[in-house]
Structures are given as structure tokens and as C-alpha cells.
Amino acid sequence: MAELEYKIIVGLEIHVHLATRTKMFCGCELAYGDMANTHVCPVCLGMPGTLPVMNKQALEFSILTGLALNCQIASFTKWDRKSYYYPDLPKNYQISQYDLPFSEHGYIEIPTEDGGTKKIRILRAHLEEDAGKNIHTLGNFSAVDLNRAGTPLLEIVTEPDMNSPDEVGALARELQRIVRFLGVSEADMQKGHMRFEPNVNLHITRNGEVFKTPISEVKNLNSFRAIERSIAYEVARQLHEFKETGKTLQMGNKSTYGWDDDKQMTVLQREKEEAHDYRYFPDPDLVPVEIDDAWLGEIKARLCELPIQMQQRFTKDYGLSDYDASVLTADRATAEFFNATVKQGADAKRVCNLLTQTGLKLANEKGTTVDQLGITPENLAKLAQMANAGDVSATAATAIFEEMAAAAGNPMQIAEAKNLIQKSDAGEIEALVDAVLAENTEAVQDAKTNPKKAKKAIGFLMGQVIQKSKGRANPKIVSQLMNQKLTS
């Protein structure tokens, strides 16, 4: 059979843990990896007679994210109960938002391969509570840990606007960068702070007619690689299934799959005969929320320039490569620190190198961000200027950066105190060059007359000069003088 023409259609459901200190509806502290059932209280244990109270920070984090995703924020939103029958949420319902989510109708811009962007529409974003964990290691029993039960969870649903595994991966990465920029989530994939559920199907064209394959929902993916691979796998599987059976999408014809990371394949979990009946109804325990203009304005003021916009600005205005710009905009602290330093008049590429090569390494070692290293943008700008002017070598600039982080201070003073100022005075360097040339007649001979050995000999002579200057001679000037003298 000839290869069929097809288009990949993917929509995403994304769950994001919010970086609040406490749970959504009670004051239990959020903790990852602590002893089981030590961050629980009567509310999140689902005890009768308890009442949930909304976490204001969680709501504001959600609204901030909704704004960043260009959503319309509802002036009135409420809470609903979604029936749920697993012991990791012992109330037997999940508090969620059904018909009146706090935000709807937005979009997210994702980077495309050609350096441009593509808009993916957001259907809605609502707030809910996470479940605990069921652990199936006890044979005929299961163990339940409710530490996670009640964690504020932002659910974001996109329209089916993505058409390749790469686009879905790009959206996942972009969303991670956005929520980190906003400071609303740590978005640590390994800790399950972000979980993805793609809905995948194909529009296959055969003899001029379009056939839609049944939709697969792949549950609970928590790595970018798993997202991309599971979609690629589903595309191949659905194509094969269509060729074999000709099965197409009927109303509500949707199956749930899991991703087996060891076997690198999707595994059928259940076929939905009809839309699942969660029997939502308004939660009488929680009063609705009204978001007025004043409150919304206050939250809007906390918005920042989004990473993708910053990245584009850095390539356009500062001539940085897309790669450099993406490293700088991976987190907000680095991006804003870079921005502030360049505004002091420093060369962007030099600042970028100092920050990405030395700054990020130091910040990583100290478990902090580059703006917390004790270095001001003013001083970093000065250091960049010194390096560009040839006052200090690139190696010395790194050492000065490290010293500035260790003991604070002004780069010029550090350079002077540590004897790191490069000698650029031609007269002074010329004397050194002359001395070295006089002391090494053999190498000079090779450099002048033996093409096989010339390169090595010049390197040796350069090294001697630098050594004589105790590493402080500006190599550029040494090289210039050396060349003049050897060719004269």
C-alpha cells in the first residue's frame, strides 16, 4: 500500500503544582520526599465535619499564569466537586472547577524550528487539588500516602493545535520556562511538578477523503522525552491500526493509554464507551470568588516580560545567537541580571559569556541564582568593559568574577590587588619581547626560516614573554610585536 498522507493532531492537558508553602484548602505545608502521612490534617484527610479554606496565594499564582497565557480572567469563579473513587483522595471527590473556571480563551507562543513562533490556543485553565499517592507494593493491599493530597494544582487545557511531537515538546518546555519566570511553580519534572496528558489522533487523507483516527489520551507523562516519544509512538500505532482495520473516530470514541518507559511503547488502559460521568456539582463548602478590577490590576502588576519575548529581543537587539539567548532566558534571574548589566553599556556577548560560563556555574554550586552571588550589574558591566578593553585577559576575568562573588568588591580593585591587570603598554612589552628573542636564538631561527617548525617556535616564544610578564602581558600586543620583529 502506498504511504498515506496524514496530519498529526495533538491537544494537551497539563497539570502544574503551584509553589505555595501550604496546600490548596488547608495549612499543611507542602513537602516532597518527607515521611508519608506527616503533612496531613483533618481537612486533607477528608474527615467529616471539616471545612476547606482557599489559599489566596494559590489563586493569585493561577491568575498570574492565566494572564501570562493571554487568558480572559473571569470576574466570578466557583468550586465544584468531581466524583472520585480512589483512596488517594479520601473525601471521594476532588475539589475542582467545572463550568466557571477562573480563566479561558488564551494562547501560548512556542518557538518553532525556523526561529519564529507559533500560537497554540489555550481552551481554559482552572485550579484544583492534587491527589495523594497509591503505592502498590503490598500484594493484595495498597499503601496510601496523603502528603500530596490537597496540593494546589493548575490544570491547563490547550486546543488541538499542535501538529508534531516536537511542537508538543516545545510547548511543554515553554510552559515550564513561563511558570518558572513567574515564580508560580518550581516546575521540577522529576518531582512531578508538571504532568502532561496529550490527546493524539491523525487526519488521514486517502483517495481525497479525510479519515480521523480514534483519539488516544496518554496519561501522566512527566518527562519531555516521554512526551515526544509517546506521541511519535502513537502516530505510528494509529497509522498501522488504520491500515489494518480502517477504524475511525466515532463520537466519544477515545481510549486511555499509559506510557511504558522501559518498553518505549504506549499501553492500553481503558476504552471509554462514553464520556466519563464525574457528576460535578457546586461545592457547598466553598463560597465563590469575585475578582474585581482592583485585585486583577494588582496581580497584573506582577507580570514580567515573558521569556520568549526576552529571547527574541536578545537576539534582535544584542545580536546574540538563539542558543545564547535561550540559555540566558532559561530562568528569570539570569535574564533580568543580563538585561540590567547590558543596560550599563557593557558588551552583550561578553556579559553573556561571563554569566553563562562562570555565573551559572557558581550559582549552581551555591544552589542559588546569579543575582544572589553578591555581584551588582554595575560591577559586572565594569568587568566586561575591562575584558573588552584588554585590561584583563579572559582567564583573569573569570578569576575576578569568582573573587567578586566570594568577597564582593569592585573588579578594578580586585584586578589590581591580584596583579591581574594586563600590560598593554607597547614599550614595556617590547622590552620583554626583545629579551626573549635574544635569549632564544634557536627558536628565533626556526620561526624565521623553518616553515615546519615556525608555528611551534612562535608559540614557544609567545609563552616565554607571557611568563616573563607573570601572565600579565596582553597576548594580542605580544603577538603583534613578535610578528613585527620576526618578519623584519
Partner: protein, 102 residues
């Protein structure tokens, strides 16, 4: 008169709620639930064209809490009323067809 809530609906809701009902109970609940729905249907007689749907019966909004931790229960307190435990975990009958997850 046909029942407002027929036996098939009762069986369906029972399944969704993981309830096991006898045939007698299914018949009994069908009658009872139908009576309740019929009674409530009196409300349909009201003109609600200009009435906003009610989200909550209290005229109260924005009951919010600051994001400040409160002490949680200890592990032993949390498990004190549990029918069964395994170390620091609640121990429950094996979950079949686990499609849990928020």
C-alpha cells in the same frame, strides 16, 4: 406514569458510586428518587428568566486564607482511626483498575 428515575438509571448511578444494590433496593430507590425529583420539579413552575444561576446559597464571597503553614497531625495521629496500617501508610484493599490521579 413512568418513573422519573427508572431502574436502569439507579443501577448506573450505583455503579458510578461503587454501590452494590439488591434488586429490591433498586426498585425501592427508583420509587423514592422519582418521588423526590417529582417534588423538586414544582420549582420548574417558577419564572427564572431574569434570575442569575445561584453558585452558593450564602451571599458571601472571597473567603481566603494567607499562605501560612499550620502544624499538621503527627503520623500516629493521622493513622489513629485507620482500619489498618502498614508502617507509616494507610493500608487499603488492593486497588483494581487504578486510574487514580488528579
Amino acid at each position: 406514569m413512568t418513573a422519573k428515575i427508572d431502574e436502569a438509571q439507579v443501577r448506573r448511578v450505583a455503579l458510578l458510586s461503587r454501590l452494590e444494590l439488591s434488586n429490591e433496593e433498586v426498585a425501592q430507590f427508583s420509587t423514592q428518587l422519582s418521588d423526590i425529583v417529582e417534588y423538586i420539579e414544582k420549582l420548574s413552575g417558577l419564572d427564572t428568566d431574569n434570575v442569575q444561576p445561584l453558585a452558593h446559597c450564602l451571599p458571601v464571597y472571597n473567603v481566603l486564607r494567607e499562605d501560612v503553614p499550620h502544624p499538621s497531625l503527627t503520623n500516629d495521629q493521622a493513622l489513629a482511626n485507620a482500619p489498618d496500617r502498614e508502617d507509616e501508610y494507610f493500608k487499603v484493599p488492593k486497588i483494581l483498575d487504578d486510574n487514580s490521579g488528579a
